[in-house]
Amino acid sequence: MNYKGKAHKVGEHIDTDAIIPARFLVTTDAKKLGENCMAGLEPDWVKRVKPGDIMVAGRNFGCGSSREHAPIAILGAGMPVVIGHSFARIFYRNAFNMGLLLMEVGDDVDKINDGDELEIDAARGVIRDLTNGAEIVCPPLPQIMADILARGGLVGYVKERLASR
């Protein structure tokens, strides 16, 4: 899978209350959640996003609650990938379960500037910054995460397991 879009950088320890504040958790609709994506960081933050754009985050992105509404809000806002220094563990599982690709790249995240055009070859784990020419290689996913993502998320993965029982 390849992706191309503009980078939207956010800081360190962005928590799930920033990604989608609890007052919006009265729905499971991706579009509605997407309209309030990052509203806990800055009202109307999401207005800068065009479908296909890519979120780029600092350390420990997604810390806090277990709300799956967080990756859904990001997907609902039109962003299929988050590149991060590192991710909080519940968010990490949730993202793959929902079909949101996370790329954990450590300090290399600093090579990307806000607003840069990015191109991603997900299969090879390569991120190219078309604005400044930087190339970042992401370590391969654990097998189980790759299997889950290949089935579009955990729902597809479990469906297959239940069918084979």
Partner: protein, 420 residues
């Protein structure tokens, strides 16, 4: 191989042989939890998976605690999804209304989770049950759906950080303070993907409710679980809370491998508060001066148990809440509420001028029953002080133990009980 608590518990729930940390194993589940916010998504995923029956109707727990009593039409509609599912599946442990309490207080109190269990919950504070020696961790709704359908989940065996706490506990020092001090030391991602394992003389003597408070906040250090040994205090707690006959004695092996060992000596330590906007931004309470508060919240899955209410009442007895602020007291479960009533705590709270409310998560997550306006400041016994967590993006939340919160309510500004 000498094993950590995490390795021991997981090994008892998997057919895979655990050889090292980082290994991914399939684990049988003792319990699977969801609440009013995360349940509907889990149910949607459950149906999407083609599942028709939960793996065990006695081991799926649905607790409608976050927005209870339902705050608006949307949240009421949301509960209907879980209610119908519970009826359809014949779920034994569905809680809504008068038997409902804050999930992480309710489940241990009713003996629904216990020592040596592996529990997953669609709520990040599921790690609370580590206080009674359960490997319990938060996951998202779809992982919970898979758990409800299969009765098992995959878990990466976490590396362990051993935390030894020693010294002499001051009069008002509690589990909350110990945990905030640890988070200050290792940071909000200090235990990312890892298990915390607690020990040392202070922990050995710490009442189980204090251990539950500490385990509850393991996630605030990024941890997967916060584990305590199963000892005589644990067995006694279980016997008094719906789980008689526990004989398990569970502790880490001598010589187990730890990724890191953190030693904390609490001698001479005063209570602390976590300042905005991260739980790691911890200061001694005496360092916090001239910080008027407009709201105090005493409750939540972190500090809404009876011993917490008793601490708050001890400070509030014969005193009055300051003018121009609201002090909201929310006992976590109906059993805690009733005990407060029976032992005269409710009268103390009312005489002091507190608002005593129902058993709900409510204000902790900015849901309802005490929301902060622009520029308002609160001190709360809850677990998170992220920007906007309790309301306006321009509000501030300070975290503390119940005695400090109660003292601050009396003083009208952040203050320790010894400073009143």
């Amino acid at each position: 191989m000498a094993q950590t608590l995490a390795q021991k518990i997981l090994q008892a729930h998997t057919d895979d042989e655990i050889r090292s940390d980082g290994q991914i194993v399939q684990c049988r589940l003792s319990g699977v939890l969801a609440n009013d916010i995360t349940g509907p998504l889990a149910i949607k995923s459950f149906r999407g998976m083609g599942a028709t029956k939960v793996f065990d109707k006695d081991k799926v727990f649905l607790v409608m605690d976050h927005f209870t009593p339902q705050k608006d039409i949307d949240s009421a509609n949301q509960v209907m999804v879980s209610r119908r599912f519970a009826q359809e599946q014949g779920i034994t442990h569905y809680y809504e209304g008068g038997d409902c309490g804050v999930e992480h207080t309710l489940l241990p109190e009713r003996g629904l989770v216990g020592p040596g269990d592996v529990v997953i919950g669609a709520d990040s504070h599921t790690c609370t049950y580590g206080g009674i020696g359960a490997f319990a961790t938060g996951m998202g709704s779809t992982d919970i759906a898979a758990g409800m359908a299969l009765g098992e989940t995959w878990i990466k065996v976490p590396a362990t950080i051993r935390v030894n706490i020693t010294g002499t506990m001051g009069r008002w020092l509690r589990g909350k303070d110990l945990m905030l001090l640890l988070i200050k030391t290792i940071g909000v991602d200090g235990a990312l993907y890892k298990a915390l394992e607690f020990g040392g003389a202070v922990v050995d003597a710490l009442p189980v409710e204090g251990r539950l408070t500490m385990a509850n906040m393991a996630i605030e250090a990024g941890g997967k679980v916060g584990l305590f040994a199963v000892d005589e205090l644990t067995r006694q707690y279980c016997a008094e809370h719906g789980r008689p006959g526990v004989t398990l004695d569970l502790r880490a092996d001598e010589g187990a491998t730890y990724e890191r060992v953190v030693d904390i000596d609490v001698t001479g330590q005063e209570p602390v508060v976590a300042c905005p906007h991260l739980p790691s931004n911890v200061k001694n309470v005496s360092e916090c001066r001239n910080l008027p508060v407009q709201q105090v919240v005493i409750g939540s899955c972190t500090n809404g148990r009876f011993s917490d209410m008793r601490d708050a009442a001890e400070v509030l007895r014969g005193r009055k809440v300051a003018k121009h602020l609201r002090c909201v007291v929310l006992p976590s479960t109906p059993a805690v509420w009733k005990q407060c009533l029976k032992e005269g705590l409710m009268e103390i709270f009312m005489e002091a001028g507190c608002i005593v409310g129902p058993c709900t998560c409510g204000p902790c997550l900015g849901g309802h029953m005490g929301i902060l306006g622009d520029g308002e400041r609160a001190i709360a016994t809850t677990n998170r002080n992220f920007r906007g967590r309790m309301g306006s993006l321009d509000s501030e939340v300070y975290l503390s133990n119940p005695a400090v919160a109660a003292a601050s309510a009396v003083a009208g500004e952040i203050c320790g009980p010894d400073q009143l």
